[in-house]
């Protein structure tokens, strides 16, 4: 066998080497282009716009530094918006993820009509949010809406779900959890089916109960999946807008106004480009912080065997 040194490589071999070296960049290029054009550049543009006042009264942008941000943070209604958004995320994410894991564990065995159950839980994901929101809007009707009719069986009187400042956000949270749990369940099912059997057999031999096996084996092994679905759930939470638009319009009295909906309203109804850009920046920063923290925290504990 002769050793090839640089001085004796043929032209063909050199082209092959350069080709192979360049290949990753070529493959990455379309994605990088898309992300730059549709994510990076608009983010920079929005950061720029947030430093100017531009609305229906001030057509030509006026430089204002961080005034847009200070005005937002000192406005009581924006506090409501942030509060609602964080409450929504803090409630829907753990419940959805936990329910999804439980459902996946239950539906991971073989029994009759298994496919039907999986379909039933996954079906909400397939519905567009607008359709789901319209259906649930009428399900929440006081008196004869399906939800209230169902609750009457337990002696609970009819509630005005979307008209009560206390219940409206809860109503939206129920819809949000219903909509996304099936999606996460599928990921957990896939994860569960990829787990090695030997570990569980060993645990069984050692006398571990099912709960112990789940807690000490399944959950840590599924950390990668948990990281993924948690990120998706948080992003879904921050991106909630369709159901608010259809069901409550942000009311009653800003009880269901959330960040992205308020942003949309500020830009497209009030035509306030400066404020809307400032809100966009806040949204991007919050999501960046969360994703980074989540990644660091869960990466430490995840095992990608």
């Amino acid at each position: 066998m002769t050793l090839h040194s640089r001085t004796t490589t043929t032209k063909k071999e050199r082209r092959f080497r350069i080709g192979t070296a360049a290949l990753p960049y070529v493959l990455l290029f379309p994605t990088v282009l898309f992300v730059t054009v549709f994510t990076l550049l608009p983010s920079l543009r929005v950061l720029y716009d947030s430093l100017f006042i531009q609305n229906q009264a001030v057509k030509i942008p006026q430089f204002a530094g961080i005034d847009n941000f200070t005005e937002l943070f000192s406005s009581a209604s924006f506090h409501d918006v942030l509060f609602n958004t964080f409450v929504y995320v803090l409630v829907t994410v753990p419940i959805s993820v936990f329910l999804a894991l439980v459902l996946a564990l239950i539906l991971n065995r073989k029994f009759r009509a298994l496919g039907l159950y999986r379909l039933a839980f996954f079906y909400p994901t397939v519905l567009p949010m607008i359709s789901a929101a319209t259906i649930w809007y009428f399900m929440y009707t006081p008196g004869y809406g399906l939800i209230n009719v169902f609750l009457r069986n337990f002696g609970i009187p009819s509630q005005s779900w979307l008209g009560s400042a206390n219940l409206a956000l809860i109503a939206l949270m129920i819809l949000g959890i219903w909509k996304q749990t099936g999606y996460f369940m599928i990921f957990y099912l896939a994860g569960l089916q990829g787990l090695p059997h030997e570990i569980f057999e060993a645990a069984d031999l050692d006398g571990a109960s099912t709960i112990q096996a789940t807690r000490y084996l399944t959950v840590p092994l599924l950390m990668g999946t948990t990281l993924f679905v948690t990120t998706i759930a948080v992003i879904n939470g921050f991106e909630s807008v369709d159901q608010i638009y259809i069901m409550t319009g942000g009311g009653p009295n800003n009880a269901t106004s959330m960040l992205l909906f308020n942003l949309w309203q500020t830009l497209f109804s009030f035509l306030d480009v400066g404020k809307a850009s400032a809100m966009s920046v806040i949204l991007i920063v919050v999501l960046l912080i969360f994703t980074t923290l989540n990644f660091i925290f869960t990466e430490r504990r995840a095992t990608y065997e």
Binding site: A57, G251, P252, L271
Partner: protein
């Protein structure tokens, strides 16, 4: 084999893309194509009716083609148009938008004044046929900007059968707030299965609230586009009246009620009286299995209501040939016959007074006497809330209404906060 199929599919895709890009047959110079955006805000086969009008117009004007585009609701239509203009695109030629969108549209330089067209069509003799209450929203800075197309007022629908059962005279609906409360008390069942009155406060809460205000002898807005009066003691009294229906008199559920649920509650007998748009009349009559009465909304001093609905506008920046064609189309859509037909098919009030005396309308009123009530009530109507940055102003008042109805604030405090907010929003505008 699969490679060949793949190549064939790609080729087919490319060819169809090319075909789609191919230019349409070049029209002859005298042909004009208009784009018409219209929202739908009431139930019914609206697109079919509009398409019928388009066909009639095109038959009478063979060199004008109209592209009618259903553009969602009023806010969607406004958003679409403003976004197009902002992005440097071509706006439609004609659009139906809220009469109260006027100031926002003029601020964004989106609409064309119609002065010259109106003058050529007869000036005052042309405009005098329109109901003055409706034409009021078309004037700003000395120009006329729009014509009434699908206008409405809130009306009080009441269940005559339930009235009789409660010992009330079905021919004598309430004429002021106190009478409405008294009647509602007799019509409310303690177990919550039947409420005397239901008035919604979601969506555009200010609109029905204005009935209480105008019926109290005042209004939240005057002729100026940069001034609103929310924190007036009579306005606060009107808001308290609204809230008292649920919290004090217990004739209405004490929450924010949803606009879309009101007609259903009414036809199901869950609410003996509701306040809703006159434009819902046709739909309610179709579904109700009882005798439906129509009367006027009330405040403490008597009848009162804000006008509502949409006007037809011509957008700015369209070519001159399109402008002439667009004016012909606007005249057609606001003509007596079309307005009468539109009213019969939807329940909107015709913009023209002569439409009320047309044969078609007379025949319709003979069959459906309820349809005559709303137009006759225009004499009790006041101006709808309209100002610069209208969406934000309306939201400020709407939030105040909702906060009082949900018990989170007192009427005086909520309105004071709304006034402060509105003053801040309106400060930069000069008139």
């Amino acid at each position: 084999m699969s490679r060949k199929i793949f190549a064939f599919l790609v080729l087919a895709l490319l060819l169809s893309a090319v075909a789609a890009c191919a230019p349409a047959a070049t029209p002859t110079p005298s042909n004009v194509t208009l784009t018409f955006y219209y929202p739908v805000a009431v139930a019914g086969p609206i697109t079919q009716v509009i398409d019928g009008y388009i066909q009639k117009f095109q038959a009478a004007n063979p060199n004008i083609k109209v592209n009618a585009v259903l553009s969602g609701g009023y806010p969607d239509t406004l958003t679409k148009i403003q976004t197009t203009i902002k992005g440097g695109g071509t706006p439609p030629d004609v659009a139906v938008l809220l009469s109260t969108d006027l100031y926002s549209l003029v601020d964004s330089d989106a609409v064309q004044p119609l002065d010259d067209f109106v003058k050529a069509a007869g000036g005052d003799s042309f405009t005098s046929d329109f109901f003055p209450a409706y034409l009021a929203n078309s004037n700003y800075q000395g120009h006329i900007w729009s014509l009434p197309f699908q206008r409405s007022t809130p009306v009080l629908y009441y269940n005559k059968d339930l009235f009789k059962a409660a010992g009330l005279d079905p021919a004598k609906p309430p004429t002021n707030y106190q009478e409405m409360v008294d009647a509602a008390k007799k019509l409310t069942k303690a177990d919550g299965s039947q409420w005397g009155i239901e008035i919604s406060s979601d969506g555009i809460p200010y609109w029905l609230f204005q009935s209480f205000v105008i019926g109290n002898g005042t209004n939240v807005v005057g002729k100026a586009a940069n001034k609103v009066t929310f924190n007036d003691p009579q306005v606060a009294a009107a808001l308290q009246d609204f809230a008292d229906l649920g919290s004090k008199h217990k004739v209405m559920p004490a929450d924010v009620l949803l606009w879309a649920n009101m007609p259903n509650d009414f036809v199901n007998g869950k609410a003996a009286m509701i306040w809703h748009s006159s434009g819902s009349l046709t739909n309610i009559l179709k579904q109700a299995k009882f005798d439906v009465g129509v009367s006027y909304t009330v405040g403490e001093k008597g009848f009162g209501a804000a006008t509502g609905g949409g006007n037809i506008y011509m957008l700015k920046g369209i070519p001159a040939a399109n402008q002439a064609a667009a004016w012909k189309f606007i005249q057609f859509m606001t003509s007596t016959d079309i307005q009468a037909d539109w009213s019969i098919n939807t329940g909107y009030i015709p913009g023209r007074q002569s439409a009320m005396s047309s044969q078609a309308m007379k025949d319709y009123i003979a069959k459906t006497p309820q349809a005559a009530v709303a137009p006759a009530g225009l004499k009790y109507a006041g101006a709808e809330l309209a100002a610069h940055n209208n969406a934000q102003i309306q939201k400020a008042l709407g939030d105040a209404v909702q906060s009082v109805l949900t018990g989170k604030a007192s009427a005086a405090d909520a309105l004071k906060a709304a006034q402060t907010q509105a003053d801040q929003i309106l400060a930069p505008f000069k008139d």
